[in-house]
Assembly symmetry: C2
Homo-oligomer: 469 residues x 2
């Protein structure tokens, strides 16, 4: 690890003030260790700017001294995008203010370092909804969520994080500030820069604030049903949307095997509706009028029973019951067997191809590891599956050991064969950069490289993530 | 106008075949004349490729010979983006096929030259909805709608055109084809190129096909109400959304003066609810269950009467009555006085600032032209107003003559003073390019220039639109 030049360090410390930087090995070690991962990065310097002008002056210093930087939010990423590998870390967590809320425009301006819950709470206080919701919402920051274009459990209805922003404030690699904090819903005045910075994982600029889109508050109706096959699950989604339209907010698939694992590993969980059938669907319809939502959901399920798409099911009678459904869904990633030693991928295919993908991918994996078990769960409505290959129940010795590269290759190839994506919501980072350079059309990778070179000619913004230049 | 080199013309004719090109002055004149505009462009050559490989080979030829091209769809643009000024024209209208429809994935793949109605019809045939809707839908093409990021009357609920695409196929300025026709809803695999080409007005590449997002079909409930002030109109929107959530699909404002003009100019129109109040709102709520939609709309209006936000109003009792409401709204642009000699701008401000903007902009215009009248209508839900300054009723001599530059300046300045945009849905083209270079933050314009140079280093793709390089 090369240390930044002394002149840079002196100027940066002077700029940031005593609270705004650290060279303490413990603190450096903390920001260099990803939340979940089998490796540790390294960084010589941690900067914690307190304002946009401070962040801009810091980036200007980096540019002048050719010092590379890695922006960091809540450090909950999964693809080695926000872990430093010799770069200085620019942590945004001191910038967490809500700058303004506009109820009539349904928007709020918030700084990049605020955790997602802050935005959710501010929306609620204003009688509105900020719909992004995911497991790490207490830690993941607005800037990180935008930079990774986060997904979560309400994408089917509200879209990804990029769809929930109206504007951005960004420090460009030159150190110039672009104030694009527009609260406008229509603004056709040139290339859409916010969509370029969203999902760029900090490689094109440092996001310092965002204008978020707010929505009307809604009431939820939830159901938990049992299905025989993934074909039935996909048909069920179409049927529910036929009855409830795009008010279907979540449509999550859970395999019965995952429920068994959760019951075993997580104290205090119970199966809402024990059944021998292989699949569960947790679905949610949300409308302003709770009676309308329940009515639409009940009519949809009635039709589903008639068409034999659903064998058993229950509509939550209370918020507590609905929460107990969600509890099962949300504790799957905590299950030791599903996540301790398993091979996990986050893939997407067109919704219509989910059954074929699962069938042929499982078969191909079983050819390599005949006793492997599978935990395949996630956002069917978005075609997004968390696909895990696990050790078999009660095995004496691990069967996956040594097979990770071969199994990963199979999952990637099967995903691509079904017109899918090997990174649905987790992103590229360093982890999938080279694999994606092979899988993406060359014309796309070359265009991305041209953009990176044009916007960050010195290559100081989170280098080596997304695309190599 | 410089003619392209003879070697280019010979090769292009050979490539495109007899049906694929024209040098006939009448045909060239037609594609060089914008739908609405006071000028005519010029072009030496019209190319009409029949397939993506043909389009790609043509662009490769253009690159080799440094021949600039202007892509053209339905030629309904309003900002001088698709009118050639010496460039060859690449008309996409021969590429109008629907390549595939996927009901379970809620997507369809369609070629760029198909008119919008083709997509709407294909969606309907599949039991789905493609929600983009605007006046020119019989002529405007998918490629043009994406390139200009079109808006229309359902943006409040469904977003702009860029929000309705899942993937694109684009011929890059090098002549390479980028096949990004993804049907995926989640695909975090690098910079989002589709959002870069959407709204780029053909300056970064030639869109040849798109994957569109389909939605569940819905039933509509419409109401026509009379309001005293724009403050009440903005409060009414919040109230209706409180009752109907994001199922409020349209929320259009119409001034009483515009109704008078339409009744005078357009045969067969009548005022649905004559009133002395200055403003009308045409609103639409759409849900799968028509009874739910009516119920939500009626409850909202009941509350609005109680809060005195609405003085008079009617919920459409039939589809025919709803259509008669929309007829008034849609014929405003046909009114001679509102559009014949008036000064028209397409602006957006945050919804909350609509009342203040209208008040101060009107006052500033009246200082210059004391007898001017105003027609201000459009998409309140999106903060998007079509702002027209008109000749006064029954005037003997035109009062606006000579004042266009001063009045336009006032509208631009007032829009910017209210954190708005001088191009909400119509785009930049050549018409607003230089004005926007002044109004946009310099950092944004410089970033756009860097992108243009990086992706189109030869400067052959619709040069001079969006940004000068």
């Amino acid at each position: 690890m090369t240390k930044p030049p002394a002149a840079f360090l002196a100027a940066a410390k002077d700029l940031l003030g005593p609270k705004g930087w650290s060279e303490d090995p413990e603190q450096l070690g903390k920001v260099a260790t990803p939340w979940r991962g089998s490796f540790t990065g390294e960084t010589p310097f941690l900067a914690r700017p307190a304002s946009t002008p401070e962040a801009a002056a810091l980036v200007k210093l980096c540019a002048a001294h050719h010092v590379a930087l890695t922006p960091q939010g809540g450090n909950t990423g999964l693809v080695d995008a926000g872990t430093p590998h010799g770069e200085i870390v620019v942590s945004m967590t001191r910038m967490h203010a809500i700058r303004s809320v506009d109820q009539f425009n349904n928007s709020l301006v918030i700084e990049a370092g605020a955790p997602l819950v802050t935005a959710q709470q501010a929306a609620e206080d204003a009688g509105r909804l900020f719909p992004l919701s995911l497991g790490s919402e207490g830690t993941a920051t607005i800037g990180g969520l935008i930079s990774t274009n986060a997904g979560g459990v309400a994408v089917l209805r509200y879209g990804m994080m990029r769809d929930l922003i109206l504007g951005l404030e960004v420090v460009l690699p030159s150190g110039e500030i672009w104030n694009g904090l527009s609260g406008l819903r229509k603004n056709n005045t040139g290339y859409d820069l916010k969509h370029l910075f969203a999902g760029a994982e900090g490689t094109l600029g440092l996001i310092t604030a965002a204008t978020l889109k707010l929505f009307p508050q809604v009431q939820r109706a939830s159901a938990w049903v049992c299905c025989s096959s993934t074909e039935d699950v996909v048909s069920l989604l179409a049927l529910v949307r036929q009855h409830a339209g795009d008010t279907v907010t979540s449509f999550e698939i859970i395999p019965s095997g995952a429920i068994a694992m959760v019951l075993e590993d997580v104290p205090g969980t119970r199966d809402p509706l024990p059944s021998d059938l292989p699949w569960r669907v947790l679905m949610e319809v949300s409308m302003v009028d709770e009676a309308h939502a329940r009515d639409a959901l009940e009519k949809a399920l009635e039709a589903a029973f008639e068409q034999d798409l659903v064998k058993d099911g229950v509509v939550a009678a209370s918020k507590a019951q609905a929460q107990s459904f969600w509890h099962i869904r949300e504790t799957i990633p905590l299950s030791k067997r599903a996540y301790g030693t398993s091979i996990n991928q986050d893939i997407a295919v067109p919704v219509s191809r989910i059954p074929a993908f699962i069938e042929s991918c499982n078969a191909a994996v079983l050819e390599v590891v005949p006793s492997a078990e599978f935990v395949i769960f996630g956002h069917v409505g978005d075609g997004n599956l968390h696909y895990s290959v696990c050790e078999p129940a009660g095995a004496n010795a691990p069967v996956l050991k040594g097979h990770t590269p071969a199994v990963t290759r199979i999952i990637y190839d099967q995903t691509m064969a079904h017109d899918g994506s090997i990174s649905a919501e987790h992103g590229v980072g360093r982890l999938k950069r080279d694999e994606l350079a092979n899988l993406r059309p060359l014309a796309a990778t070359e265009t991305m490289r041209a953009i990176k070179r044009a916007i960050d000619p010195l290559g100081i913004m989170n280098p080596g993530r997304v695309v190599s230049v």
